[in-house]
Amino acid sequence: MEAIVGGFEGELKELREVFNSGKTREASWRRSQLQGILSLFKERESDILKALHQDLGKHHVEAYRDEIGTVMKSATYALGNLKKWMSSKRAKMPLASFPSSAKLVPEPLGVVLIISSWNFPFGLSFEPIIGAIAAGNAVILKPSELSPTCSSVLANTIRDYLDNSAIKVVEGGPLVGEKLLQHKFDKVFFTGGPRVGEVVMTAAAKFLTPVTLELGGKCPAVVDFISSSWDKKIAMKRIIWGKFGACGGQACIAIDYILTQKQFASTLVEMLQKYIKRSFGDNPMESHSIAKIVNKKHFSRLKELLDEPGVKSSIVYGGKSDEQNLFIEPTILLDPLLDSSIMTEEIFGPLLPIITLERIEDSVEFIRARPKPLAVYGFTNNENLKKKMISETSSGSITFNDAIIQYAADTLPFGGVGGSGFGRYHGKYSFENFSHEKAVMMRGYLIDFGFRYPPWNNKKLQLLKSGLRYDYFTLVLIKLGLKSKA
């Protein structure tokens, strides 16, 4: 039962005042906060690792790799690029507007709300926070209540390391989220599922608040026949990692299902089994290298996916689960029914369906017929297939011969399209996400064209027509009375 602690008017008032005072706009403040984030992760690493292990059973190497290391990398990148991002950019001007100049000036939006998700509680909180701070905003973070230890560590560490007057954490569940959304923010950044995404956007609409929705989808991996054994080995490792290695499959960009040719299917299953054993041993739960399922609700949901008729019979590996420890072992299914829940809903767990097709090119049609996912993966050396996948499927991003790693690329925008959301971040896109790019045009008094002004007559019209075409020769002729029509 969550304690309702008022309507947050006090907190929001303080944030607004602090923002209006201009403090968060100073480069020095932004820098100090980004440094604060680096110190936070350096000094409280063990608290963070403990919390991730407690809530999600993450191995400390996985936790470091996915949540600590990546955030520190992003904060360092932001520090290194802050000056560049904050500076105005000159805009090219047409000659007709001489003498004038224009530039694009980035400015913070104001007070922003970040709602993060339970599966990467530190990563998905801090990546947007880094963008919001770099852009000069005041921030409220609402972490997910489904990873409570992490939520608590987030609140404590942010309080200890960052400027509390401008960056606040509000803990709690849906009721708290609802209360927050009754207030006006200058931006709302939401990571989570589409149902709550809709609620968030509807609430934001009342204030015309722009939103970014980072959702998910069923991210397919097209696995082509690969001849080289070296390549096959790497591909298997990456596929397994892409499915089971990041929060046990509970990741928005985890591989959801595989598409492959009928002939390759049995080899694929064999190889996957071999590498699953290599990665996780004979008893995956004992390896402590796969995250657990976050709670009983999701555990039951995943079990129900497996229990459906047409699905149960398609399990070719794994399938065992342990309710006490909220653990489901890596499970492979071969050709479950296409209209079963496991093939129509986002799985978000360690269950890997493999769908077989006649030809690998059919995978493109298969993907197109379904909602646009956050990521599409292709494991292939066939350049034509790659081109076809890029031009004929649509997704947030597309990665070849690897999975999930696009998350770590600072130069690539990270975000969805269609059902997987809209808006993007990471690197400079995080900065842009929380900025308004203001167009500023400067004119002088030196040259003023009389034909801009009424009363109108035909001569002025002709002058304007030629001026707008940048046809200065004609303009001069008309002015001199030597020509009457532009």
């Binding site: 809709e198 011969n401 399209v417 809209f422 203001k438």
Partner: protein
């Protein structure tokens, strides 16, 4: 354009219902008390609007467009470029018809029609044609150590089927400009022009139907019920130009389908006028931006002026003097002024003028002519902050002047109000310019002129806060209707086993170094140190 005939003769009773009944059948209650009634009964009778475009018709429309889009036709360079070429030809062939429609709907002078609508849209179309290949090209990007070795690019792709809802004050420009962006980006498009500019709405339906590919680009005419039916569909993007009230309904409708939106709204665009200026040029520019832009009915028209108490009389004198030069002694009969758009709008403006709070403060103009929908250029001095004229976007030929003690107080005044679409400053003082630019948040800012930034296609045009979200013009139009897909290419060579289970301390060391981006750290880790 699809003609929406009555499909089921038994539903004739629909035609006898009022707008409010129809709108209450839809989930989205578009406000009907503002901006949504027909300009006049006469126009309603003569309207060529087809029979009710209902939910079923909208379903049918969407099905056809989705199928066209999925076939891939709109994605090719050839299709996009051919559509843009036809659009340009359409504009070139139809100068006269367009001017006539604009005159019929708004009494827009030919000059304004030409400069602000026709010339701008032609220029936008030509730019898109010229730059299309460039815009469609993938953008190669660097990759960092975290994903080494890899290569990456960002590939623009169309969103799918998009809805464009435009406004009545610049009915050609605000309809066709986003359509240009949508076509250039490779989408299928539905345009819903404003019914408050019925001649243009009808002309657009006719011309776009004739010149463009109607299997992919459609015009749906109508008002609240038609818009509601459209908003129930699942679009890949909705581009709306209009006011904040309806924008909230549009965004809430979009939320049901997680559809991203661009909202081009308005606000009270202030003009801060310093004393250190060229007075005549300043006055002329303000006047042309206010009364020369559809008689103040433009989202970026100067809404009100702020100047010092000391300078106000000087400025007012020059404004009055130049008003006469522009529009003569009898501006009500000047052919160079647009009329007020429609009768509801006239009533709203009259209400602003009749507000008790500003009685005695009208220092110029104030005359109104209801039958011809004309209001004279009017200046109001020091209207109280809680008067109607100072609380809502005016969108008409009334110009309040607010006086302050020092010019810097003007900046505070502006900042205490919702963020406008544009903010203007007239001064030769460098420091004031710098303060204004860094402290005023608005969609766009112009120093020493007004509204011109719309004509520069290298500048994004859009609002912030209450004045909207998203931007367009030039490449920004293409971007507004595209998804920029990140593409990452990895090879199988150069794999870092560090990231895979089973996890070991050695792997952790290597990972730390990789994520730090430190080459030295990586070498050390590989050799077992650190």
């Amino acid at each position: 354009m699809i003609k929406f005939y009555r499909r089921y003769p038994s539903i004739t009773h629909r035609q006898h219902r009022s707008f409010s009944d129809l709108s209450s059948n839809s989930r989205f209650h578009l406000p009907i008390d503002i901006d949504y009634t027909m300009a006049s009964e006469e126009q309603a009778k003569n309207s060529t609007a087809p029979a009710t475009f209902d939910a079923e018709a909208a379903d049918c429309l969407m099905k056809e467009l989705r199928s066209t889009f999925l076939d891939g036709k709109t994605k090719s360079y050839e299709w996009r470029s051919s559509q843009l070429k036809s659009l340009l030809k359409m504009l070139e062939d139809s100068d006269k018809q367009i001017c006539d429609a604009l005159f019929s709907d708004l009494s827009k002078p030919e000059m304004e029609a030409y400069i602000h609508e026709i010339a701008m849209i032609k220029s936008s179309c030509k730019l898109a044609l010229k730059k299309l290949k460039d815009w469609m090209k993938p953008e190669k990007t660097k990759t960092n150590l975290g994903t080494f070795p890899s290569s990456a690019e960002i590939v623009p792709e169309p969103l799918g089927v998009v809805l464009i809802i435009s406004a009545w004050n610049y009915p050609l420009l605000l309809s066709v400009d986003p359509v240009i962006g949508a076509i250039a980006a490779g989408n299928a498009v539905v345009l819903k022009p404003s019914e408050l500019a019925p001649a243009m709405s009808s002309l657009l339906a006719k011309l776009l139907g004739k010149y463009l590919d109607s299997s992919a680009i459609k015009v749906v005419e109508g008002a609240v019920p038609e818009t509601s039916a459209l908003l129930e569909q699942k679009w890949d993007k909705i581009f709306y130009t209009g006011n904040g009230r309806v924008a909230r309904v549009v965004m809430a409708a979009a939320a049901n389908n997680l559809t991203p939106v661009v909202l081009e709204l308005g606000g009270k665009s202030p003009v801060l006028v310093d004393s250190n200026i060229d007075l005549t040029v300043t006055a002329r520019r303000i006047l042309s931006g206010k009364w020369g832009c559809n008689n103040g009915q433009a989202c970026v028209a100067p809404d009100y002026i702020i100047t010092t108490k000391q300078y106000a009389p000087v400025l007012i004198d020059s404004l009055k003097h130049n008003l006469v030069k522009f529009f003569g002694e009898d501006p009500m009969n000047s052919p160079d002024l647009s009329r007020v758009g429609h009768s509801r709008h006239f009533a709203r403006l009259k209400k602003l003028l009749d507000d008790d709070k500003i009685s005695g403060k009208i220092i110029h103009g104030g005359q109104t002519d209801k039958s011809n929908l004309k209001i004279a250029p009017t200046i109001v001095l020091d209207a109280p902050e809680d008067s109607l004229i100072m609380s809502e976007e005016i969108f008409g030929p009334l110009l309040p002047i607010v006086t302050v003690e020092k010019i810097e107080d003007g900046i505070e005044f502006i900042n205490s109000r919702p963020k406008p679409l544009a903010a203007y400053l007239f001064t030769n003082t460098k420091q004031l310019k710098e303060e204004f630019v860094s402290n005023i948040s608005a969609g766009g800012v112009v120093i020493n002129d007004v509204t011109l930034h719309l004509m520069v296609d290298t500048l994004p045009f859009g609002g912030v806060g209450e004045s909207g979200t998203g931007a367009y013009h030039g490449k920004f139009s293409f971007d507004a209707f595209s998804h920029k897909k990140a593409v990452l290419y990895r090879g199988f060579f150069g794999d870092a086993p560090a990231r895979y289970p089973p996890y070991t301390p050695g792997k952790l060391r290597l990972l730390k170094a990789l994520l730090d981006g430190s080459l030295f750290g990586i070498i050390r880790a590989l050799f077992g140190f650190s």
